[in-house]
Subunit: 268 residues, 2 copies
Amino acid sequence: MDGYIGVFDSGVGGLTVVKEIIQILPYEDVVYLGDTARVPYGTKSPETVSRFSLQCLKFLSNYPLKVVVVACNTVSSTSLDVLKDNTDVPIIDVIKPGASSAVMSTRTGKIAVIGTKATISSMAYVRAIHNIDNSITVYQKACPLFVPIVEEGLQDDEIALIVARRYLNYLLDKDIDTVVLGCTHYPLLKGVIRKVFSNDVQLIDSAYQTSIAVSEKLNEMSALRNVSREKPEHLFYVTDIPNDFQRVATNFLGWDYVYVKKVNIDEE
Amino acid sequence: MDGYIGVFDSGVGGLTVVKEIIQILPYEDVVYLGDTARVPYGTKSPETVSRFSLQCLKFLSNYPLKVVVVACNTVSSTSLDVLKDNTDVPIIDVIKPGASSAVMSTRTGKIAVIGTKATISSMAYVRAIHNIDNSITVYQKACPLFVPIVEEGLQDDEIALIVARRYLNYLLDKDIDTVVLGCTHYPLLKGVIRKVFSNDVQLIDSAYQTSIAVSEKLNEMSALRNVSREKPEHLFYVTDIPNDFQRVATNFLGWDYVYVKKVNIDEE
């Protein structure tokens, strides 16, 4: 079936999800929007995040969408209902796939969730995990400096390790065996987070699980493309072109060139 | 003369300027706008910062303005011309007062300027300093983690000191005797910055100098209020109410209560 997989995020982090989608669904057209003019979302109020998210959805709706992927934990945590009220297109969020993956992983029944302030205060992961298994103990910790550290490319710096120790220390004696990286930026800090926890701890990155959820949804809708194509469309939009997006995207996706176009989504 | 002093900033930082203005001009009406929904500005492109700034100016123009104070170094560095093209109200920026204050302070003729990426790349401080004295050597350093550290209230934490050392180390052997805090957030990091530099180094915070510039401009326009009033108006608007703005503002201004109102400025 023709149509796009629409993906949006507050910035560059959602590319972790796009990369997985392109990998398992290589023939599908994808349109991505990163709201880089207003990043970060994780420090803003749910009301403002919802308002921005609706503008993202409205922009993506210029394309014929088969499914919308909310590749941002903050939006998934705070604004899913309002998004669903404003479109008939099925919406895939990143919380449920991450939560179910964590529940499958844990043996001790103790899971930690780390994310932005907005994601943590929303309790969305706690609810999603308890919906699957109410007996699991969930520890949460907001790590607000992680996003700017990644944005500054300091993820392998000593600073990242010191900040990670500060945030995560209190989780170390809790018998946790599974840590949900509840923000699309955090997979880039895996090295550092791994240094803080013991080696047995499983780090859950919802990007892959989310791409599986997209594939399942399209399959269920009989909306998968059934012909291979040489050149599926992969469109990338941002609301601001900061120096780095194109470089980060090109490196991250491992392509020769990523064409990124700037749009205004707040003045329509 | 009736009318307001309009002040805007990307967020809470501009309150350092408001505080000084209220102190030296206690009878004047002030209207403040913090664009907290889209903070930070310092990591965004000049084009986007200009677009946001014009929306801030447009909002403030709902009030009869005597003068507009751009209490944000990033906006002052990137968007002053476009703002001046769009209003007849005199505009005071924070760069020129900071620069002239630094030139007055230096004995060695070596000044360091620290600020956001956007402020540093604009070279605005270098130009402003060289406009006054071309023989001065100016060293610059962008400190992008300083804003999120202050926003997270970590300014007295060990993390702040480690980050400050990392950023400022290369300035230590340059015979610098004056450091311009080229971002309204940075005065809150004075303690930490002071620990990195020797005690003889002068830290220049443009808030006070800017308030003097406002007073001089109003005087020159014969627009100062010449009667004392019991209750001048001090109005505070933000584009998002994050948990903290009201608390930070109340503490910072030392008032019993600061009434803050949320407005949308991008959909008019």
